[in-house]
Every structure is written in structure tokens, then in C-alpha cells.
Amino acid sequence: MTALLALEAVEKHFPVVEGVLRPRVVGHVRAVDGVSLALNPGETLGLVGESGCGKSTVGRLALRLLAPTGGRVVLDGTDLAALAPAELRRLRQRMQIVFQDPMAALNPRMTVEEIILEPLHVQGRRDRQALRDRAAELMERVGLSPEHLRRHPHEFSGGQRQRIGIARALAPGPRLIVCDEAVSALDVSVQAQIVNLLAELQREFGLAYLFIGHDLAVVKHVSDRIAVMYLGQIVEIATKAELFARTLHPYTRALVAAIPVAHPRLRRPRARLTGDVPSAMAPPPGCRFHPRCPHAEARCSAEAPALRPVLPGHAVACHFAERFLPSPPRPNP
């Protein structure tokens, strides 16, 4: 299968500028530093990691809302950097984004109808009645009443606003939607409704999702495959079943261990990560995780581990990944 979207060794280094009168670049935030991943049609790839590890930047690079400072972003076989602006605009219709805070993402002065149809105007469709029908159809599809098309965003609850954001993303008939913390700010009862809605829409329209989140339990629930990021890099990527059956990277293991239990009887003392995430301006040498890694050895601070396949469909960036494989079942005596 050819990938719908491929990131090839993508980098985004933001310059850090100091000084007001004579501004100069004093360093770079290496927000995304050599990320490669591929997203297949109709699949959900989850992207998890701690705050500031570069998840949103990956999402914006994928949509080319940001230009990479290195590497390539390829959509349907086309390198987005090689496109003329008009072509890029056309191709972009295939990719949409849903944000965490729908209120900040929706223009408060526009009606819901204007909001939903905005991506279509960009596309240059002007048939009034057809557009109006399309908006009504989208409202219904996301579980809102078409009668509310003339209202403004503040008249809706958080969950309803997120439905509006989803309707807007669906309008141009995309093949890929980046969901950047799309359910993170919602109350659980509402979050569950939106998660289920996203799953239905995926089945119906064959959508692919890049699902960005920091709650591993939510990401696990929605994803087919999961990529774990740490300080601008992917440290582990695998199918969901594989990742949880054999969690190999020490950081992923710590992330899993930090998730609260589902039932009080499952409480147990667990190893905790110490310290905070280091600065992305001066990432630690070698393995970026080594200052917090309970398994670090001399080699870890000297040599950066490459992301390499350890099992079929399971790649890990750790020198010692094999050590964390569960021991094979013993043959019966």
C-alpha cells in the first residue's frame, strides 16, 4: 500500500532570538528533529508524548501549515515543497485539522454555517443552495440540528463546538484529518461521544487520522498504530496490540506505568520517572532520554540510538531494546 502521507526525516528548528535593538539568533529549539513516519489511507496513527515534545509541530508540518527546516513531507506521492501555491491549496483540501480548543479555533463573529463552509469558499465553490444543503447535511452528520446553522459559536457547549469543528473539517471531503488534542479539553461523558463520532466518520468516509494526544489511554482506544515522541524524536512506533504486548522503549514503559489504574484493586507500587523533560534548545547528547532513563549506560550518553525495527512492525530507538523483550515461553519439560 502506498502511504497517504509520509514524513521523511523531517526537521523543524525554530530560531531563538534575543535582544530588542539588535536581535540575534542565540540558538534553536529543535522542536522536531528527524521524524519519519507514514500514514496509510483509512488508518489512525496515534502520536503521544509529554508536553513540548513536538506533537503539534509534527501535525502542522504534516499539513504544511509550517515549512520544515529539513526533510520532506510527501502527500499521495507528491512532495509538498515542490508545489506551486495554487496546487498546494488544492491538495490541502485533502487534509484538515481539528484543534483542542474549538472556541479559539472558531471565529466568534461568524455563524456556524459560515464557519463550516469557509474551507469550501477557499476551494472556490459558489453555488449558494448546494452549499447550504451541504452545511445542513454536515450538521446532521455530526449530531447537531441544522436549525442552528445561523447561531454563533458561543451559543454552544464545548462538546457541541467540537462537533462544529469536525463538521468544518469534513466539509471539503478530506482524506486525512489531524486531530490535535481534539478531545483533551472535553468532559469524559462528552469526550466519549466525540471519540465515537470520529470512529463512525472514519468508517463512513475512509478517513485517515493523525491523532495527537497526551492521554495514552485515549490514544490507545482510537489508534491502529501508535508513535511515541520524546524531545522532538520518535522513540517507538508499533501497532497498538504490539506496543502494549511488548513495550520496549524505557520511556514508553515509564509512560505506561504512569497511567492511573482503571480500578482500585489494580493499584501497585510502580517505578516512576524522575525529573522534568530537558530543554529542546539543548537536548542531552547521545540518547535524549538518558538523564532520566533507569537503564542508561555509558554508551547511551555517547551515541544516539537510531529508530530501528526490532520486531515486525515495531521500531524502537534504544540501544538495548532487545533486553526488554518478554522472555520466550519455556518449552514444556
Partner: protein
């Protein structure tokens, strides 16, 4: 329990003056907390968790807020009948609070050290050097590296996790017997959340503090609480020991909350949902506030608020049909015994 509870709240009703008249944000809420116990208060946005905690601390601005009814007793003493000066003396010394928004409750123009030292000196008449020593020790205790150096930092120089540790340090500096922690880990990464919950657990064991932990996260409840109060639209929906709550939730809202929370143990498929959305304050339903979203609802539910019934020792439910699960409704997930 024979000894007087550490904290006892009876029939608390807190009202706010709004454009649409006075509305109750918290209504007829009762609970008790023993020393050394963790009571979790869980509920979705706007259910009245923070208002409950702020009412206990006496930190709501009056007006627009007003305690309409009820009694709050701390170590047997009636807080609402107490002179303001005495109440202030308890606050920050015997009763500490960690606030939901660390950035708004830390003062941006003072260093971390100044803020802890001031808290200590407000309550204990210590010489400055002794207060500073205690501040450094408290920062060390909450896991801040190089605490003496960090004393000179301003809040914006700290990461979110560090800031929340400072908030906990300020709340703990005078060794309170009661700690109210309002969503102390909500804005933080799970790895930092786990560190902080461990820290609070250690401090609680060490000092025998009573803790009220407010959260909207059922996982945090499962991880940390001894007893749980589930709130919905300003009222208590259910109260139970934590295992009973997860084994046999009786209120349909609790059942829904547990079912709607994705877990690592979950098997995928559609999540259980609660239909509809949360009511807005002052939507003023005469009967059960959950009725518009409840599959069990009957005419009786809509007539008057359901009374609280005790369905097992320590397990109270405000639902007329607590023993009548309905087809299509969430069911409690099975978990190994």
C-alpha cells in the same frame, strides 16, 4: 468512627448572585473526612467541586457568593460561626489548599522563596532565617532539586510540574492537618502527575493528614482515593468506599462516568456514552438534575430531587431507581477480584 471527624460538612448550599437572580452552585452537600483519609470528589466541569472546596476554606468572594445553608465543622469547631480572624488563622496553618490554577494563585512579582516564607511567617512567628530554612526544607521535601537556588526563582521560570510542587509546598509549609487539593495534577503530564500523587501519598502517610482530592479523572480516583463523592450539577449523586464505587456503582451517572473513561485495559469498540450535555447553572430543574440524560428516568424523578438512600454501609445514592439498571445503559466493567 467514634472520634469527631476532621472535617464535617452538612447540608452545604452555596449561592451566587447572577444576572438571572441567585442560583445555587452547590446544593445540600454533606460529607465527612477522618484524619489520615483521602476523600476524592469527582464530577465534570461545573458540578460544584471547586465551590465546595472554596466554601470550606472560606475563600469565596461574598458577594456574589453566599452560604445559603449548612454547617462546616473542622475538628468539631463550627467554621461558619467563627470570627473571621480565627478562621483566617486556621487557613493556611491547619487547613491548606492547592488551587486549580497555579499560575493565578502564585504571585508573579515575588520569588518562590518570598511566597513560602511569607506563608510561614503569617502563621508561625518565626525569625526570618528559621522561616527560610523551613521553606528550603519544604521545597526539598516536595522534590524540587537545588531548593536553595530555586527560592530565588520567579514563578514563570518554573515548569508546570515545578510550579505545582511549589503550590503543594506552600500548602504544606505549616504542616496542615487538612489538605484540600483542587485538580492538583490536571494540567500536567501523566509522568509528573504520577510523581505528585506519590508525593501526596507519602506526605499523607508521614503526617496523617486528611486529604480532599478534587478531580474529574476517574483514574486518579481509582489510584488515590479511599472514599469517593460523585457530584453532578451541584449535588452529591453518590458516595461510597472506592472499591464499592468501582465494583457496584449505583447512580446511573457514576456508571456512565466509569464506562466513558478509556482505560489501558479497555478492549476498544465504541465507548459507553452518556447522552446529552451537562446542564448550565440555574437551569433550575425541579426534580433530579440528571433526569434529562438518564435512561431510567420516570415521572417521579422529575417531580422532586431524589432523597439520599444508604444502600450499603457507607454507600449512599441519590437516585430513586438505584437498583434498576436499564437496557442500553452503561454497565460497570469487570475487573479481576
Amino acid at each position: 468512627m467514634t472520634a469527631a471527624p476532621l472535617l464535617q460538612v452538612e447540608g452545604l448550599t452555596t449561592l451566587f448572585r447572577t444576572g438571572r437572580g441567585e442560583v445555587a452552585a452547590v446544593e445540600d452537600v454533606s460529607f465527612a473526612l477522618a484524619a489520615g483519609e483521602v476523600l476524592g470528589i469527582v464530577g465534570e466541569s461545573g458540578s460544584g467541586k471547586s465551590v465546595t472546596a472554596l466554601s470550606v476554606m472560606g475563600l469565596l468572594p461574598e458577594p456574589p457568593a453566599r452560604i445559603g445553608a449548612g454547617r462546616i465543622r473542622f475538628e468539631g469547631r463550627d467554621l461558619l460561626a467563627m470570627p473571621a480572624r480565627e478562621r483566617r488563622a486556621l487557613r493556611g496553618a491547619a487547613m491548606g489548599m492547592v488551587f486549580q490554577e497555579p499560575m493565578t494563585s502564585l504571585n508573579p512579582v515575588f520569588t518562590v522563596g518570598d511566597q513560602i516564607v511569607e506563608t510561614i511567617r503569617t502563621h508561625d512567628r518565626l525569625p526570618l532565617s528559621a522561616a527560610r530554612d523551613r521553606a528550603v526544607a519544604t521545597l526539598a521535601r516536595v522534590g524540587i532539586p537545588s531548593p536553595a537556588r530555586r527560592m530565588q526563582d520567579y514563578p514563570h521560570q518554573l515548569s508546570g510540574g515545578m510550579r505545582q510542587r511549589v503550590m503543594i509546598a506552600i500548602a504544606l509549609a505549616c504542616a496542615p492537618r487538612l489538605l484540600l487539593a483542587d485538580e492538583p495534577t490536571t494540567a500536567l503530564d501523566v509522568t509528573i502527575q504520577a510523581q505528585l500523587l506519590d508525593l501526596m501519598r507519602d506526605l499523607q502517610t508521614e503526617r496523617g493528614m486528611g486529604i480532599v482530592l478534587i478531580t474529574h479523572n476517574m483514574g486518579v480516583i481509582a489510584e488515590f482515593a479511599d472514599r469517593v463523592l460523585v457530584m453532578y450539577a451541584g449535588r452529591v449523586a453518590e458516595e461510597a468506599p472506592v472499591e464499592a464505587l468501582f465494583d457496584a456503582p449505583r447512580h446511573p451517572y457514576t456508571v456512565g462516568l466509569i464506562g466513558a473513561t478509556p482505560t489501558l485495559e479497555g478492549t476498544g469498540g465504541a465507548l459507553v456514552t452518556i447522552p446529552g450535555t451537562l446542564p448550565r447553572l440555574g437551569d433550575g430543574l425541579p426534580g433530579c438534575g440528571f433526569a434529562p440524560r438518564c435512561l431510567r428516568a420516570t415521572a417521579a424523578c422529575r417531580a422532586a430531587p431524589p432523597p439520599m438512600v444508604e444502600v450499603a454501609p457507607g454507600h449512599r445514592v441519590a437516585c430513586l431507581h438505584w437498583d434498576r439498571p436499564t437496557p442500553g445503559e452503561a454497565r460497570a466493567p469487570r475487573v479481576p477480584a
